[in-house]
């Protein structure tokens, strides 16, 4: 197939056409996130990244599909497993890596770390560290769109652990009561830290959790980027139409432990291998593209090499940055600091 023919070509999934440019962009973004997370894992092992670090390997289709479906003006916020989403949103990877490394050029100036990525320019509203905490905040973002009638939709992402928090149901109730433009997205990666879904949830079909609030639910294969994008687009259209919120359950899987300190002994290697080899979202899209004659295995191998190089360059650039200036300790506490208020603790002497 000539280059021109390839451009005209693409993949039609469930009635939606994805051209080659889009497919390449989605593929490359997923692969970039995968390699970025692997690099973050390495740097954590080298003790260059500190604290908590929650990787999203395996969940890339949800990140990339969601951001492909959303408008740039829409709000997106999530929990602490946020690297994939902020990268999918188009934030500067060097700034994200610099944040992980606690550097001056970090996306939040080195003040947040792995769990607190924010990018106001791209309406990426965290990076929230307390399980379920982002859900009422997302309710408020949705409320602001209702109040201002600005046509935006808020994507409020939580996990299969987060959805058991009471704050989520308080938010479901108000969002439905006032018909706020919100898509609640549950990334069901099967485990809340070390607790499997069926050990923590009486109703394991999480998309049904909105029923008593009259919130419609959709379950989507979160390991298939085209399927996820397609169905997520429908969910967003529902929320934007003024019909109120909708709940999306993305079926997905995290290949790594909950965080870097988790050896994941609560599940079998066979189970992990089954998801990795049978349902991997990157391999799946590659197979679809090869089958459609849009790319070859060799081309994907080359692209992987290129992306690994890109990620290495990103890590190098981020590592070369200095730590934040000491003066940053005191900035961003208040917008309107009170003149003359004495900073504490007092210096003795």
């Amino acid at each position: 197939m000539s280059a021109k023919q390839k451009q005209a070509a693409g993949i039609t999934h469930d009635g939606s056409f994805y051209d080659l440019e889009e497919l390449n962009a989605m593929h490359d973004k997923m692969l970039f996130i995968r390699r970025f997370e692997e690099k973050a894992g390495q740097l954590y092992g080298l003790k260059k990244i500190g604290g908590f670090c929650h990787l999203c390997n395996g969940q890339e289709a949800v990140c990339v599909g969601m951001h492909h479906a959303a408008e740039k003006t829409d709000y997106i916020l999530t929990s602490y497993r946020d690297h994939g989403h902020v990268l999918a949103r188009g934030s500067d990877p060097t700034a994200v890596m610099a944040e992980l490394l606690g550097r001056a050029g970090g996306i939040v100036k080195g003040k947040g770390g792995s769990m607190h990525m924010f990018d106001a320019e791209r309406n990426f509203v965290g990076g929230n560290g307390i399980v379920g905490e982002q859900v009422p905040i997302g309710l408020g973002l949705g409320f602001s769109s209702w109040y201002k009638d600005d046509g935006r939709v808020t994507m409020t992402i939580m996990g299969d652990g987060g959805i058991n928090q009471g704050a989520v149901y308080e938010s479901f109730n108000m969002a439905a009561l006032w018909k706020l433009p919100i898509v609640f997205v549950v990334e069901n990666n099967q485990y809340a830290m070390g607790t499997s879904l069926d050990r923590a949830s009486a109703e394991t079909h999480l998309f049904k959790r909105g029923i008593s609030f009259k919130i419609p639910g959709m379950q989507i294969d979160g390991m298939d980027v085209l399927e996820f994008d397609k169905k997520m687009s429908e969910a967003i259209a529902h929320a934007r139409s003024g019909e109120g919120p909708i709940l999306v359950e993305a079926i997905t899987y995290r290949y790594r432990g909950h965080s870097m300190s988790d050896p994941a002994t609560y599940r079998s290697r066979a189970e992990v291998d089954e998801w990795r080899s049978g349902r991997d979202p990157i391999a799946r899209l590659q197979a679809q593209m090869i089958e459609a004659g849009l790319a070859t295995e060799e081309e994907f191998k080359q692209r992987d090499k290129d992306i690994k190089k890109e990620v290495a360059a990103v890590a190098k650039a981020a590592e070369a940055q200095p730590e934040p200036d000491a003066s940053e300790l005191w900035t961003d506490v208040y917008s309107d600091p009170i003149e003359g208020a004495y900073p504490y603790p007092v210096k003795v002497g």
Partner: protein, 326 residues
């Protein structure tokens, strides 16, 4: 100048700010159709409509977080807690989200909003509905904590709080809602972070906030009859604390009593007396005394409840002790 209640002064402040700024809205339990559990929002639904004066379900954590998100998106929420006792359910959003958002996002998002409602002890409502939590909140960098003690301050401080670009914890006093005082009409703003000398005196400094300011003023009257001239200072803003006004007073009187309705341990009095010790040690002729609520859950029986709260007599006695007149 008009003679109005503390409750109406708060109402006036909100109405003026909502008229001035479309981004301001009021949300909380019973604020709209019921006109407020304590009638602070009387008439506001009629004036501003149901889009800007919003009744919520009983769901403190949820609507506190709604306020945080709405503020991050550029609105100016005023979120009412029927009382601060119920705000304990919402502390995650106040402490982990509102207070930290600006820092945690490297300055990209701020949370310009007011959480307000009745705090302190009410009358005969038992342990869960009578307590002072300002020390919990004042401990948190990123929050500002404001507590008016009279109608004029209530208006001026609430207007300043709504205009402030940070999260302001605005703790009213249930027993003060009916107090009447002179309140300036129209534009009247009291800057946050400024204490007020409520009575001038030379012998001892009484520092008291919220309802205790009135108690301190009554104690000062009694002390005057006994030949002791007390200066009464109301910090008005608990965080950030205007310690200079307190230190200037202590430099003159050389003696201080700090009064609060809440419990003693790690209370506001502990902070104020520590600061006097740190920066005013050489001015002191006697250790700083504290008058606080007793460290028990609030009892119901009238006699026990009375014993649990600080009294004017307690303040008089403490002032006499630090003045060497006990």
């Amino acid at each position: 100048m008009s003679k109005i209640t503390y409750r109406d002064a708060l109402n006036q402040a909100m109405c003026e700010e909502m008229t001035r700024d479309e981004r301001v809205f009021l949300m909380g339990e019973e604020v709209a159709e019921y006109n407020g559990a304590y009638k602070v929002s009387q008439g506001m639904l009629e004036k501003f409509g149901s889009k800007r004066v919003i009744d919520t379900p009983i769901t403190e954590l949820g609507f506190a977080g709604l306020g945080v998100g709405a503020a991050m998106a550029g609105l100016r929420p005023v979120v009412e807690f029927m009382t601060w006792n119920f705000a304990i359910l919402a502390l995650d959003q106040i402490v982990n989200a509102a207070a930290k958002m600006k820092y945690m996002s490297g300055g990209q998002y701020s949370v310009p909003m007011v959480f307000r409602g009745a705090g302190g002890s009410a009358a005969r409502v038992g342990a869960q509905h009578s307590q002072s939590l300002e020390n919990w909140l004042a401990n948190v960098p990123g929050l500002k904590v404001v507590m008016p003690s009279n109608p004029a301050d209530a208006k001026g401080l609430l207007k300043a709080a709504i205009r402030d670009n940070d999260t302001v914890i605005f703790i009213e006093n249930e027993i003060n809602y009916g107090d009447v005082g002179e309140v300036p009409d129209g534009e009247y703003i009291i800057p946050l972070g400024k204490a007020d000398v409520k009575r001038v005196g030379k012998d001892v400094t009484l520092v008291a906030h919220s309802r205790m300011t009135g108690f301190a003023l009554a104690a000062a009257e009694e002390l005057a009859r006994q030949g002791i001239e007390a200066e009464v200072i109301d910090p008005r803003t608990i965080r950030p604390l205007d310690e200079n006004t307190i230190l200037v007073s202590v430099a003159k009187t050389n003696r201080a009593v700090v009064i609060e309705e809440g419990w003693c341990f790690a209370g506001i009095g502990a902070e104020i007396s520590a600061r006097i010790m740190e920066r005013g040690f050489d001015d002191l002729d006697a250790p700083v005394a504290r008058v606080t609520g007793k460290e028990v859950p609030m009892p119901y029986a009238a006699n026990l409840e009375g014993m649990a709260l600080p009294s004017v007599a307690d303040i008089v006695e403490a002032a006499r002790v630090v003045c060497g007149r006990a």
